[in-house]
Symmetry: C2
Subunit: 337 residues, 2 copies
């Protein structure tokens, strides 16, 4: 029998909104699958959220339990997965402080993910310093737990590359294999488009279907959904590629044969958008109903929810402290006090 | 009787070399005077030292006890002054992480002290990110202990200004008077020139007289000292202003009348540099002998020395944690776990 060590996976979310179908497809589904085969740690990244929400901390605070509820509702099991709060693991900011010395200011300025986000968030010249360095704080999060794999969207790959760069620099400089190089794990469907047809579903883009949406929310959103703009008459042939209604069906329907025959019908002409949307509603409502119910059943027991985070944060602290001790000792600042 | 609260003073040094007469005049003397009237905390800033010594951590490690010995030798009393190690107070990096969100990247780039240091250190485009943000980490050090006053050289004033900016932004944003505004305390003789006549005495400039220099080191260094370059013949009138030999006498001689009469003699002509230097040697050797002896007497008792740092760091942790709790609560991330 193979007694190989379980792989360690670190992932997480900024608690700035409830999670949506884009999160599910891009990451949550993968985490649920991983938890039977890997040692999974999930971080509620409140510290990272504050890098662009310093003036709206109440949003961050309010979404700690919302995000946790989303996790539990999709089937993440707190008995096999460690769910913790970033800001309560103080080793992470200390590791960040050491890693910041290994990376130049210029290198951070040229991070493509951060550059794009600065544009999207409209920071202009007013980028908070904390936001500019958050990729280094991510490197601390990843290495603190010796993560082998980091499930991320493809837009996050430059972040993992920076972590690898820091790991190599650290190990070379301090002449020890102290930190572990992580690998990005990008899901096959990395990204779900928004209901408006835009490439990415996002809270700030107001084009998301939330895991907690009611069935009537869901119905309304699906009715508004962008389809093939040239498919104006039912009898016209419609386009399936880049049509989010079909992208969602590909991602969530379990009856693949039925989806295939609908696609063919739509392409031939004669299948109304409203019919496809009706089927999509059934599919998504079937998917979301148990999630919504689990979410509702758990949401009142606040003591239970904080208990999960307390336990997870305790474990996270124990593990991160061990890494911090190794790091301090490699640097040579492990004083006898 | 006045029962006014004692003022709190926070100061410290990067442990990258032994301390010299420039440190004494610019800061140590003031700290010794302050310790009877204020609540003095002194930080051995190993974390800050690593921002430009990440590749030479052994230098930082080696100077922790050297700097402590210098402190004790000049009369800092660990029973009334809290001496601690920066990297062992983890609240400081966490506070830094919150403050980084309140300051823009551009603001840090334009800090005049940092700009000058980047030039002096020859970083060019390779400035470590940790170095660029060290002023924010200093704001954390200062505010963590509610410091009212920060004894610094005049070149450090922009640092205190940045701290004040962060304090005001934080208190305004989180609608509470959580952090205290510090004031810089600049000594009357803020800066001692180097033995080469350059404006500043510095380890890296190789123009320093160390508190630990032996009497023969001292003699050699004084012999090499820069004086008035136009005073080539003994009978010529010499210049006293900008002549470091006289600047040192002003700073260290106790017989001011004698110094005054020497100055007049030198200005008239007829007083040889070698005579002035001989007197300076006597003055400095009288000053340094007890310091050197206390240093030597303490240097073997490593357990005692680490014990001082352990005790100071314990107190520093207790105090900084209280501030961190206030900060977390003001931001609203004081979770019930």
């Amino acid at each position: 029998m193979d007694t190989q060590r379980q792989r360690i996976a670190l992932t997480g979310d900024r608690p700035t909104g409830k999670l949506h179908l884009g999160h599910y497809i891009g990451s949550l589904k993968q985490r649920v699958d991983l938890q039977t085969s890997a040692d999974v740690l999930i971080m509620i990244a409140d510290g990272q959220a504050l890098t662009d929400h310093a003036d709206r901390p109440e949003t961050v605070r309010a979404h700690i339990l919302e995000v946790l509820l989303d996790y539990l509702a999709v089937g993440l099991d707190p008995n096999s997965t460690t769910i913790f709060i970033q800001s309560k693991v103080s080793a992470l900011t200390e590791l960040t402080s050491y890693y910041l010395n290994l990376i130049t200011w210029n290198r951070l300025k040229h991070n493509p993910t951060v550059k794009l986000e600065i544009q999207q968030k409209g920071f202009g010249d007013e980028v908070p310093a904390g936001f500019m360095i958050y990729p280094v704080s991510q490197a601390a999060d990843i290495t603190a737990f010796d993560a082998d794999i980091v499930p991320v969207g493809d837009d996050q790959i430059p972040m993992i590359e920076l972590t690898v760069e820091i790991v190599r620099k650290f190990n070379r400089l301090y002449k020890k294999e102290v930190l572990k190089e992580p690998k990005a794990l990008v899901p096959s469907i990395a990204r779900l488009p928004g209901i408006d047809g835009k490439a990415k579903m996002g809270k700030s883009l107001k084009n998301a279907i939330y895991l907690s949406d009611t069935s009537s929310d869901l119905e309304k959103k699906i009715k508004q959904m962008y389809t093939d703009p040239n498919h104006t008459k039912i009898e016209d042939p419609g386009q399936v590629e880049g049509n989010p209604v079909f992208t969602y069906l590909d991602a969530f329907a379990t009856d693949h044969l039925h989806v295939q025959s609908m696609k063919e019908h739509y392409q031939r002409g004669g299948l109304a958008d409203v019919k496809v949307k009706q089927y999509l509603f059934e599919v998504l409502n079937t998917f979301l109903t148990p999630i919504r119910e689990r979410r509702k059943a758990l949401s009142d027991d606040v003591t239970y929810l904080w208990g999960i985070l307390k336990q997870g944060t305790l474990i996270a602290n124990q593990r991160a402290s061990q890494t911090l001790n190794r790091v301090r000792s490699a640097i040579g600042i492990d004083y006898p006090i």
